[in-house]
């Protein structure tokens, strides 16, 4: 028997934080709103309503593709993907099939392993179903507030081999999406959704005759655990000479286990065809290049810059880069305070990013001008000190602290004051 290896591909859905919907002018910010208060004829799929593509969402989807080293198709179409489900008001979802905005990219893991990106495309989100008991009756209610929110779907090739690799990929991807400022990637709010496809196969190109999809993974940790659980479960079956069922499984975070949700014996026929309501989207090379210029520096680039320019260690630099506000804080003060110390302070201690940093170290330099200024402005206190009231040094230290906005180490301030007073 040929040796089988874990083969994992990821499908990631990310809600874009555009102002308006994918095809209508309803707010894309649907979270926490009263049900069905954020709707219009277009996102309700009412008779006669027509979709108008959101160009901000298109630009952002292309920027995501560019950040993932994809090729951008200069002519793309929106397609109708048909299926019946109560959360889908038109009976089809507007998505992309043959000609998505971006194809054939990659993202490298720390090990240097390349995870290929199959495609990055845009689609509309569905409504949300709520299962409730109303007057003793079990009901499923539909809230259309989310219907039509722009979703970017990122599909990898099956190049991932473990839960840990999947987790690393997902974290990297999230960092990129956040630095693009196109999505909050908030898993709890569902603005980033993960669906791994898992099998044991001969290789990424010679796939087994089954695959299992896991849904409802709402953290990277669960994604890792779910994938590893699934690999073990499948392995045990394969070792017994059985073939795992082709199915969709959920993840139970209490039991740390996956469970069967839906058996998929055949693949659905979505009857894709180009949406006749939306003319093809035609872009110029120049336009794509302009979008490329807008890309921010990505985490990897930023990390290596921090390491090179400020001699930070890689781990610290990575932690700084992960949080845009921390990085901005670092950049603001790194010329005033020794960068390594500042970085450690930011990364290791919970500090208030609204306040300037306080570094309590002896090496903190105090401008002797400030010392002189304090002494000159407080001649009375100096006289008292010289008259033997040495305890007044505390008052003088306080004045130094005040003038330096607390950025001085009191001990070094004392040393310098004493030097001046005695010298």
């Amino acid at each position: 028997m040929t040796k089988l290896i874990p083969v994992i591909g990821l499908e990631i859905h990310v809600e874009l934080k555009t102002k308006t919907g994918m095809f209508c002018s309803c707010s894309a910010d649907h979270f926490g709103k009263a049900p069905n208060t954020n709707t219009c004829p277009v996102c309700l799929g009412l008779p006669g309503a027509l979709p108008i593509p959101n160009h901000q969402a298109i630009d952002w989807a292309i920027m995501v593709g560019l950040a993932l080293n994809c090729r951008v198709n200069l002519e793309s179409t929106f397609d109708r993907k048909h299926y019946f489900y109560p959360d889908l008001p038109k009976g089809y979802q507007i998505s992309q099939y043959d000609d998505p905005f971006c194809q054939s990219g990659f993202l490298n893991l720390e090990s240097g392993k390349k995870i290929r990106i199959n495609r990055v495309h845009l689609e509309e989100d569905t409504a949300k179903m709520q299962h409730k008991v109303v007057n003793g009756k079990k009901l499923t209610l539909v809230d259309f507030n989310r219907s039509g929110v722009p979703l970017v779907e990122i599909v990898t090739e099956p190049d991932i081999s473990s839960g840990a690799e999947a987790k690393e990929f997902l974290k990297k991807l999230r960092d990129i999406l956040r630095s693009l400022q196109v999505s909050d990637c908030d898993m709890e709010k569902g603005s980033m959704r993960l669906e791994p496809n898992i099998s044991w196969s001969e290789s990424a190109t010679k796939l087994n005759n089954y695959k299992v999809e896991i849904k409802n993974l709402n953290s990277f940790r669960f994604a890792e655990a779910g994938i590893d659980f699934e690999l073990n479960r499948q392995k045990a079956l394969l070792d017994e000479g059985k073939t795992p069922l082709q199915e969709t499984r959920g993840y139970n975070s209490q039991k740390h286990a996956t469970f069967s949700q839906r058996i998929k014996e055949t693949s659905a026929d979505y009857r894709y065809f180009p949406d006749p309501d939306i003319p093809p989207i035609v872009l110029t090379k120049e336009y794509v290049e302009k979008l490329r210029e807008k890309l921010p520096k990505f985490p990897e680039v930023l990390v290596s810059e921090l390491v090179k320019s400020f001699h930070l260690n890689t781990q610290t630099a990575q932690l700084l880069v992960k949080d845009a506000s921390k990085l901005a804080y670092f950049k603001k003060y790194c010329h005033e305070i020794e960068p390594e110390k500042l970085a450690n302070l930011i990364v290791n201690k919970k500090i208030d990013l609204k306040q300037p940093p306080i570094i309590k170290t002896a090496s903190q330099k105090v401008d002797s001008g400030i010392i002189e200024k304090v002494l000159a402005e407080n001649a009375d206190a100096v006289a008292k000190y010289k008259a033997g009231k040495t305890s007044i040094i505390g008052f003088l230290i306080g004045q130094v602290m005040k003038l330096t906005h607390g950025q001085t180490d009191p001990a070094s301030a004392q040393n310098l004051l004493l030097k001046h007073l005695q010298g």
Binding site: L46, P47, P51
Partner: protein
């Protein structure tokens, strides 16, 4: 002459000269509907506010509005906020729209008054108005005959002088064919010239709203109001509207080349169309026989594209919303949904839908070639006059076959006019004048010229 028989221009002159009021004009139309609609069944729902609106307008006239005070009929697939809209389908039996179709809104903005919603083939699936879930409309010229369709209610309402003008929509022949069979003027503007927003979709890639009117000038006046880019319809054209109803006259035909496609000269209508061509020839036009792709190919293309798009567009009536389950769909809708679903299925998409789109591209290329040389072409709209009641009901390809002479122009998104050009056995025959995309002004001018030389459009049916 009764007020309801007036054309737009005549009514405007009379209203402005205070020869009669808007209330009187609207009343005349409502009376005509009251007297004859139980016989013809043009309307599904009447606007009970029409008279009140007329009163308000009489009190404060605004003649700067291009259609001020003019009563019209609207095909029932155009959404009217708060007024029942069914597309003649029981699935939407009690559907009250939440918004107005762009075409309707533009007519309201222009001061027109809605009389009511007209009968059609259910979901616009047909060319007879016989497949309406609410029963057929009858032809005002002979009630044993069909009015054509799918805009049959609108065409018959104009022919029976129940309104000053009407609005229809065409996917392939649905304005021009009922116009021909009812002896009125029907105009299908270029695809994308008039917004589809708020029109219950049939085949999205060919649906084109347009007027049914008493003459070409009226058709031009209405088109000028409803045409133009709509931010709510991504397929509406941003091109400026080039339609000038006041300057349709003075078209010089001298030396202009007009095509007569031999493959289109079919049936009993052929001789009348050749006679119509003579009218253009006498004005100095150069009429030439040409050969076009056999219209039968357009039937195939249209049928595949239309069935596929229908199966998708009807998917939203899934039994969860709108109050009726799928058993409320009648035969035509089920038939079309099944065929379209099949044609779009994996493994068949390339063979059917994609291939149809490729042939469509060829048809477009052929027309492009034709219009490099010719201004427009002349042909029958339909090979013969209105068929008898009952012929449309059980033939799933009835519409496609009846409309075969206008299908190619529809799938190519061209501009086409239907004007009465004679009678056979007391039933009207329609001449089509069809030109390239966005040639509205030229086609309407040709229609104006033809009607200035003939009187077929002035004949009225005996009700």
């Amino acid at each position: 002459m009764m007020l309801n028989q007036l054309t737009i221009t005549e009514a405007q002159v009379g209203l402005r000269a205070k020869k009669f009021s808007i209330v009187e004009l609207v009343t005349a139309c409502l009376d005509q509907i009251k007297t004859y609609d139980h016989k013809l069944h043009c309307f599904l729902t009447l606007n009970d506010q029409a008279l009140n609106q007329a009163k308000v307008m009489d009190a404060k006239p605004d003649w700067s509005k291009p259609l001020f005070g003019l009563p019209f009929a609207l095909k029932d697939n155009f959404l009217t906020e708060g007024l029942r809209t069914t597309a003649s389908a029981k699935v939407l039996d009690d559907y009250l729209p939440q918004y107005n179709a762009t075409v309707y809104q533009r007519l309201l903005n222009a001061g027109a008054i809605l009389l009511g919603k007209t009968n059609m083939d259910a979901w616009a699936h047909g060319s007879s108005t016989e497949t309406s879930d609410y029963g057929p409309t009858l032809n005002p010229w002979n009630t044993a005959h069909l009015p054509g369709g799918s805009s049959g209610g609108s065409a018959a309402a104009v022919a029976a002088d129940m309104c000053i003008f009407a609005i229809g929509s065409e996917t392939a022949g649905s304005i021009r064919q009922p116009a021909a069979w009812c002896g009125v003027t029907g105009f299908k503007p270029t695809y994308g010239r008039v917004s589809r927003y708020g029109v219950i979709a049939m085949a999205s890639s060919t649906d084109s709203p347009g007027p049914l009117a008493k003459n070409t000038t009226d058709a031009a006046l209405v088109t000028a109001v409803i045409a133009g880019v709509d931010p709510c319809d991504a397929t509406s054209s941003p091109k400026p509207v080039d339609i000038h109803p006041q300057s349709l006259q003075g078209l010089s035909l001298k030396g202009k080349k007009i095509a007569l496609p031999q493959e289109y000269l079919l049936g009993e209508a052929k001789d009348l169309v050749l006679k119509a061509a003579e009218v253009f020839k006498q004005a100095g036009a150069n009429i030439k026989n040409v050969s076009l792709l056999d219209p039968k190919f357009a039937i195939d293309v249209y049928t595949l594209v239309q069935r596929s798009e229908v199966s998708s567009n009807l998917a939203r009536y899934d039994g969860i919303r709108y109050g009726a389950d799928r058993s409320a769909f009648s035969y035509q809708a089920k038939n079309r949904s099944l065929l379209g679903t099949f044609a779009l299925s994996t493994g068949y998409y390339d063979q059917y839908y994609k291939k149809a789109q490729q042939v469509r591209t060829q048809i477009i290329a052929e027309f492009d070639q034709l219009f490099k040389e010719y201004e427009f072409y002349l042909a029958p709209v339909s090979p013969g006059p209105a068929l008898k009641l009952g012929t449309g009901q059980d033939n799933p390809m009835f519409g496609e076959i009846e409309d075969r002479l206008v299908e190619a122009s529809s799938v190519a998104g061209l501009t086409g006019l239907s004007v009465p050009c004679g009678f056979i056995d007391g039933l009207p025959i329609g001449l089509q004048i069809t030109g390239p995309q966005f040639s509205e002004q030229s086609i309407l001018s040709a229609g104006y010229f033809y009607q200035s030389q003939t009187k077929f459009h002035l004949q009225k049916p005996k009700l």
